[in-house]
Symmetry: C2
């Protein structure tokens, strides 16, 4: 929205292209990344949270398979390239300010986490008797043996 072309009186009602438009214009952060939330298309649970740079986002859209940018390894990463557990993207959404995407996927091999669990979120944050945070395993069954998959 440009202040020079939009009269102040109507500014509040004028559509903001980023939030209301039909053009995908990702707001990459200083590191060139947007956040990606990946959920299971069937069950709906959050499988993982990762990041995409411009190339990962483009490849995901073009191929229909999830590509990410690994911050720790500093490189593009096709999900499943080592494990074979590819994610087929059934739907992609973008959020209001376009700094995050949400993909609903069909998870190859049934497990998204490198530890062998279906989801990376296999621990619940509870509180102990003193009110301090304590993690409890939940949905933590291993569907594969990482030592055998990542060799």
């Amino acid at each position: 929205m440009s202040a020079t072309t939009t009269p102040a009186a109507t500014a509040a009602a004028a559509p903001d292209d980023v939030e209301e438009g039909v053009v995908l214009s990702p707001k990459f952060d200083a590191a060139g990344l947007v956040t990606c939330v990946t959920t299971d298309a069937l069950g709906g649970e959050v499988l993982m949270v990762a990041f995409m740079n411009q190339e990962a986002l483009q490849k995901t859209i073009e191929t229909g398979e999830a590509w990410y940018f690994s911050r720790s390894r500093g490189r593009l990463w096709r999900k499943g390239e080592s494990s074979g557990h590819v994610q087929r993207v059934l739907e992609m959404r973008v959020d209001c300010d376009q700094d995050a995407v949400w993909i609903k996927v069909e998870q190859g091999g049934g497990a998204a986490c490198h530890t062998g669990r279906k989801s990376c979120f296999y621990r619940r944050v509870d509180r102990d008797a003193k009110g301090e945070p304590l993690l409890s395993a939940v949905d933590a069954e291993r569907l594969f043996d990482p030592a055998k998959v990542y060799r």
Copy 2:
């Protein structure tokens, strides 16, 4: 896992405290933040993606209501402080490497997005006839009028 105290032969099997332990030890990034995915406890859809610093995470755990750290405003932010649309946290989970949390919330007012929608993810990324990305409104009904809520 310390290479100096863990024999190489058993290193692969040794539990990694961050991934397998019961201690919450968030891996904050260079800006002091972890990513937070917020889903609707009832329907399961992703409502929003935001960030938490140490204080926001602690306040969320202590109060049972969602607190975030706004990168754009550079300050702690209690969800609903302006709109009244507080998020009651029914469950919190942490991911494998503890750089992201997932909270399942009961969304006060029924809408999490500042645009008035239930979810910030109200646009699907489709492709046009040329294969270029094109956004389509989906679940985009406004549940409140932002102009009346944020004054």
